[in-house]
């Protein structure tokens, strides 16, 4: 059967008066009315039927045939449209034509658009993957049957509804390599995912919607989060470095002042005032190292207050030092901290008195018990006093600030990473073959 036919042409004349017919096409409806006598052409009229069918098919397309659009500097005309399905999903393909550049395919699926080119050179097989110009494509869809369900317009071969090919797809972020074969031929198409701005500018279609959790991305849709992570991590690294430098610079402490006082376990609470502690900077933190090296089988509660002599404002902190030890089936054990470092924040400049209140307690049944009139309890007498020594330094290194700032800095990239993993998992769910794992997430971070 010859493949060429140019066909014949006829004029449509009004059956009533022979006058010329005006064609009005608005959306789906076509009306043919005589300009002279006003009579309408019956839609069953063969000429009217052809025109109506064409118009109806046209009106429902996102890109009406004959529309021209410029993609990457080349003007293309949409000349044909078809819809295909592989039994799982369906998608649409527009055939674009430019006589000096040949043909391209515009593929629309789930509101996302890709531009496809038929390859002239066969890709190189490498294990399960294929290579095109050194770029690696991994298997995604494995030999599905793609069938044409609807078509309209002009194609460089006479496609028919119901035509089938065996299709396999290989992907890398943003690109899909498709193999299609039937008994007579085998062809390769390389398609590139188009950014929403590109396709909207070229053909004025509805803007593709960005991915949200719950949606399924296309097999080759690039993760928008990967790009952000790649762009952000140098900034994050630089910021963490700067934070660390600042931590070191601002965290220095001045000359220490040492004070000490003894306290008797289970004896009365003691209070003593030391000083002066001078804060010379406009505002400064103070580090107090509270050590009780000889506390044993008990605890020492030390309350410290820095009282501004002029304003009588009090800056308080407290330390609870303790130490316990013993023997059990595993051997000897000990627990507790005999020293603590307190950091008091943001004292305004001035002269301060250090007020220390301390009280100690001893657990145990060694020694004699005596009735202690003062507290109304039996108390062990003769326990050695616990020495409380306090080292006071102006300035403090707040590592907690650093870690909090670190958390704030890393929060957005970690959020992007979580979204990237969600995106990739949703994307890879449709993959033929094994389930997705971390290596797939990393492949999804590849540059296009």
């Amino acid at each position: 059967m010859p493949a060429d036919e140019s066909g014949s042409v006829r004029m449509v004349a009004c059956p009533a008066c022979g006058g010329s017919i005006a064609l009005r096409a608005a959306g789906y409806t076509v009306s043919l009315a005589c300009e002279y006598c006003g009579s309408l052409i019956d839609v069953a009229h063969p000429d009217a039927r052809i025109i109506t069918r064409y118009q109806e098919a046209q009106a429902s397309l996102a890109i009406p045939l004959g529309t021209r659009g410029t993609v990457r500097g080349v003007e293309w005309e949409a000349i044909g449209w078809l819809e295909r399905t592989d039994g799982w999903a369906s998608w649409e393909e527009y055939l674009l034509f430019n006589p000096y550049h040949g043909y391209r395919w515009l593929i629309a699926q789930n509101g996302q658009w890709s531009l496809g080119t038929l390859l002239t050179a066969t890709p190189r097989h490498d294990g399960p993957d294929y290579l095109v110009d050194g770029r690696r494509f991994s298997p995604f869809y494995n030999y599905n049957t793609a069938r044409v369900t609807r078509l309209f317009g002009e194609f460089y071969w006479r496609v028919k509804v119901g035509e089938e090919v065996q299709a396999s797809d290989y992907v890398r972020p943003g690109f899909m390599l498709s193999e299609e074969r039937d008994e007579r031929e085998r062809s390769w198409t390389l398609s590139e995912w188009l950014r929403p701005a590109e396709i909207v500018e070229a053909f004025g279609v509805d803007r593709p919607i960005p991915w949200l959790p719950g949606m399924t991305p296309l097999a080759h849709q690039p993760s928008p989060f990967a790009a952000r992570i790649k762009g952000w991590w140098p900034i994050a690294a630089a910021t963490v470095l700067a934070l660390f430098v600042m931590l070191m610079l601002f965290g220095g402490t001045g000359e220490p002042q040492r004070f000490s006082l003894p306290v008797i376990p289970d004896g009365p609470a003691v209070s003593q005032t030391f000083g002066p502690v001078v804060i010379s900077s406009r505002r400064q933190a103070v580090t107090l190292a509270v050590r009780t090296p000889n506390v044993d089988q008990g605890w020492v509660d030390v309350d410290v207050s820095l009282v501004n002599r002029r304003t009588q404002d009090s800056y308080d902190a407290y330390a609870l030092n303790e130490h316990y030890s013993g023997q059990d089936s595993d051997g000897s054990w000990s627990e507790g901290a005999r020293g603590q470092t307190l950091k008091v924040a943001s004292l305004p400049a001035g002269t301060y008195d250090l007020v220390v209140d301390a009280q100690a307690h001893h657990w145990g049944s060694t020694g004699n018990w005596n009735w202690d009139q003062a507290s109304g309890t039996y108390k062990v007498e003769g326990l050695p006093p616990v020495d409380v020594s306090i080292k006071v330094m102006c300035g403090a290194r707040f590592a907690s600030n650093f870690f909090f700032a670190l958390l704030l800095v890393l929060l957005p990239p970690l959020l992007m990473l979580a979204l990237h993993i969600m995106f990739e998992n949703a994307r890879l769910e449709q993959k033929d073959g094994g389930p997705a794992d971390a290596s797939d997430w990393i492949k999804g971070m590849q540059s296009s």
Binding site: A227, R228, G231, W232, I235, A236, A238, T239, A242, L243, M246, L247, F250, G251, T273, G275, P276, S281, R283, Q284, A285, V286, V304, S305, L306, V307, R309, R310, Q312, D313, S314, Y315, D316, A317, Y318, L342, K343, V344, A345, S346, L347, D353, V355, G395, A396, F398, S400, N401, F402, F404, A405, L408, V409, P412, P413
Partner: protein, 48 residues
């Protein structure tokens, strides 16, 4: 420079600024001690 990179850089700058402000004031929300509301009474020589 894309918009998201610009915004993230702004965010990091903000965190750095906050850290700088806190460090220069010797401030930390995680400090062990701070100004207390209670008045302990007069301590030390406070008369000229």
């Amino acid at each position: 420079m894309s918009r998201s990179i610009f915004l993230y850089a702004l965010w990091c700058l903000g965190v750095l600024g906050l850290f700088l402000a806190a460090s220069s004031q010797g401030y930390s929300p995680f400090a062990d001690g701070a100004r207390s509301a209670a008045v302990h009474g007069a301590y030390g020589p406070n008369h000229k």
